[in-house]
Amino acid sequence: MSRSSMWGAIGGIVRRDLLLAMRRRSDAAMSVFFLVIVVSLFPLGVGPEPAVLRTIGPGVLWVAALLACLLSLARVFTADYVDGTLEQMVLVPQPLAVLVVGKVFAHWVISGLPIVLLSPLLSLQFGLSGESLGVLVMSLLLGTPTLSMIGAIGAALVLGVRGSGLLVALLVLPLYVPVLIFGAGAVTSSMAGIGGEANLSLLGACLVLSLFLAPWATAVALRIALE
């Protein structure tokens, strides 16, 4: 098939998903909101000690971002599966992996990007500053698409399986661990004055790896789910 029709299919699916998100604008706000809440719950649960908060700040932010990503992703294919759109997607004359990329991208725009954009504001709560703030944004910018890609595999695997909400968490969270370590590590080391470049480039490597492997695995999982 021609290159252009491939982009057409991606474009089509991105457009539709964004349209749907617009129709349900508040759902899109959900992941940001979730992030804000989790991050704000922490000082409530942990106590207001500034020194402690500064230490745990990057970690908490990253864990919260990771959970927000996971939650919004867990259902990324469910609606399509239930209402039959997924069947139609599989029967599209394009490689399924390509459509998966489109779908994940749309999803990231809706729920990952807002997190990235909001993070500087939240990190103020924890007393992050200057350079490490930049590193935080950068790490999220590299990390959240990876999270989306990996999450898509889990979401596809649990389609139509009962109790899938938590199962997907169980499947995906262990795979998120490296991203979390590098992401939070980048911020912590920049706070310690070591600079976060090493961690950031590892995050980049993770992104590239997941871009190559995840759509393929997701496509396989989706086909299996539909049999």
Binding site: L157, S164, P174, V177, L213
Partner: protein
């Protein structure tokens, strides 16, 4: 042995089933023997560690269990991959059979590690790199098994959990190396065998013997589990029961 095997022949359950049945006793015997020798060496030949005292003797289960836990995951992923690639049911069954044993060794590594940690570090658990990665490994095993039990359709269960096992194996080295950035408490190779002293050598030998024993045990147990799985999934009259028994059953009714 290495060249003469006709793989196509053994890729069917009908062939694997009796083959496994013949191999199990051998591996069991070897496992028990190695375990006996290993334990003897570990408790009666290997001397006391001058730093840790007798508590170090946990090493003879801890390290073999930890090694097996990682090794089995990789083997499981390989079978899963073969299954997906060739669409071969026996490979999926092998992957399914490996998971519980792997998870058990992971659990044992964690437990014996905790038992070791309390006297050595004064805490059952620390958030150390190697410990955490072992915990993550346990989750991955749990994921593979739970995903399987959550899916009723056997074909889908096979293939879905195979995909997950394969994806997860990418994670194993990543975790392993990513934790290098962490300052680690875990002993690493601290039971210094580097000096090559006689003491260390007996320890090393005992540890290796136990590892080998666990390995043989795993093979035996996995083969017999795969036989169970086959018996549950397919109807195997001809391979399971001797004709005489079938005759008896027929008469019984």
């Amino acid at each position: 042995m290495s060249t003469g095997i006709n793989w196509a022949k053994y890729s069917s359950p009908q062939a694997l089933y009796p083959l496994a049945g013949r191999l199990i006793p051998w591996f069991s015997v070897v496992a028990v023997a190695l375990m006996g020798v290993g334990l003897y060496m570990g408790f009666f030949v290997a001397p006391t560690d001058f730093q840790q005292g007798e508590s170090y003797r946990i090493i003879f289960v801890h390290v073999p269990a930890a090694w097996m836990s990682m090794f089995l995951y990789v083997v499981m992923a390989i079978w899963a991959g073969i299954g997906l690639g060739l669409n071969a049911r026996p490979s999926f069954m092998m992957a399914q059979a490996i998971a519980p044993t792997g998870a058990m060794f992971t659990f044992l590594a964690l437990l014996t590690g905790a038992m070791w940690g309390k006297p050595t570090w004064g805490a059952w658990w620390v958030w150390d790199a190697r410990l955490t990665s072992e915990l993550i490994l346990l989750f991955q095993y749990a994921g593979v098994m739970l995903l399987r039990t959550s899916i009723d359709d056997v074909r889908r269960a096979d293939r879905s959990s195979a995909v997950f096992a394969l994806v997860g194996v990418v994670n194993v080295p990543i975790i392993y190396f990513s934790v290098q950035w962490w300052n680690t408490l875990h002993q690493g190779a601290s039971v210094s065998m580097s000096t090559g002293s006689k003491m260390a050598a007996t320890m090393l030998i005992a540890m290796l013997l136990m590892t080998l024993a666990f390995w043989m045990y795993s093979i035996a147990i996995i083969l017999s589990r795969v036989r169970c799985i086959m018996a549950e999934r397919e109807s195997l009259p001809a391979w399971e029961e001797k004709p005489v028994t079938i005759q008896k059953i027929a008469e019984a009714r």
